[in-house]
């Protein structure tokens, strides 16, 4: 192997080592709380939510239970999900027609299921835990 190739491989390796962690800084496995920075002016501590542990203990397999998609008529598209988007990409700060505003979308989704299944937190302080 020529010296040039060796240097090339070395530089490539170095670049990969430097870039890899930057590409994978954060994923749903590491999530401990729902980021509230999508809100114009957050006034509560971020809601606790350990993404993967939560869905394991709650036994939710279907990603689209939360990461849903709708067609133009407001009908839910089965077998497709939207985890590549954040809720705020589709839910604005305020209600728009049948699309609930961001805060309402979170509350209906989280609290709605907890109430329906009669388990999981439902009072403000249990989700928006002060540190």
């Amino acid at each position: 192997m020529s010296k040039m190739v060796k240097t090339g491989v070395f530089v490539l390796l170095l670049l990969t080592v430097m870039v890899l962690p930057a590409m994978n800084v954060y994923s749903q496995e590491d999530m401990r709380a729902v980021d509230s920075s999508a809100f114009d002016c957050p006034i509560r501590p971020p809601a606790v939510f350990a993404h993967d542990d939560h869905n394991d203990t709650a036994g939710i397999d279907d990603c689209a239970r939360c990461h849903h998609l709708f067609d133009d008529n407001g009908r839910k598209i089965e077998d497709e999900s939207s985890e590549d988007q954040s809720c705020a990409d589709c839910h604005a700060q305020e209600d728009k027609g049948t699309v609930p505003g961001l805060r309402k979308a979170f509350h209906w989704n989280c609290k709605g299921c907890h109430l329906q299944q009669r388990t999981g937190p439902v009072t403000c302080g249990e989700c928006h835990v002060k540190k």
């Binding site: 109430l115 403000c124 249990e126």
Partner: protein, 219 residues
């Protein structure tokens, strides 16, 4: 726990609002019936103009002679009642719940302002209680029910404050807050707290009698 919350936020909340509004309507009708039976001539001089004139004059702090006689009590009464109404109506936490249940939402006060109003209400309740203990002429006309009404009124504010600040953590303080708020609402028409309705009618009656019959001022 979640089932208990569902009960307190559902059927119990419905019952509380039913007792509150139903009770106030019942009170209004029974007051009118009583007047018609014992002193029907009062209706002959009731006047909207003199009623409103009296109510408006009495709504201004320290304007009426009755308000000036006891300036400290008057000051406390005014900021107590303003905070008592404004805090629960304009607190974010309540508006969030109205929005999610009925798609209704309105203007809110910052949490820090509501915190101060809450402390004002609790401090005013303590002031009213102390006054009953310390002033002989007030102690003489006070009984246990007066103190119970103050506890009933302060309870949703104390528990709401503690729940908001998460002392202690967990759902129980919020549950206690909801139950105490619902108890207060349901009991308002059936205790002396019904003055929130009858107070306006009393001013309307006195205002009309002074304006239309005696041609004098009642403030």
């Amino acid at each position: 726990m979640t089932s208990l919350y569902a009960f307190v936020a559902g059927p119990l909340a419905w019952a509380a609002f039913l007792f509150f509004f139903g009770g106030l309507c019942y009170r209004l009708l029974s007051m009118l019936r009583q007047v018609r039976q014992s002193e029907p001539f009062i209706f002959s001089y009731m006047s909207l103009r003199y009623s409103l004139r009296s109510i408006l004059h009495w709504l201004i702090p320290f304007f009426a002679m009755g308000w000036r006689r006891n300036p400290i009590l008057t000051g406390v009464t005014f900021i107590f009642h303003i905070s008592l109404i404004a805090a629960p109506v304009f607190i974010v936490s309540h508006v969030v719940l109205w929005d999610e249940a009925w798609n209704l939402s309105w203007w809110t006060l910052p949490d820090a302002v509501v915190d101060v109003m809450t402390l004002v209400v609790v401090a005013a309740c303590l002031f009213f209680a102390l006054r009953r203990v310390l002033r002989p002429e007030v102690r003489f006309v006070s009984d246990a029910s007066d103190y119970l009404l103050l506890v009933l009124t302060a309870a949703p504010f104390v528990t709401g404050f503690l729940a908001y600040h998460q002392w202690p953590a967990g759902p129980w303080m919020t549950i206690a807050h909801m139950v105490s708020g619902e108890l207060l609402l349901a009991l308002i028409p059936f205790t002396r707290l019904r003055h929130m309705l009858s107070g306006w009618l009393t001013r309307a009656y006195i205002g009309s009698e002074f304006g239309a019959v005696r041609h004098a001022r009642d403030w």
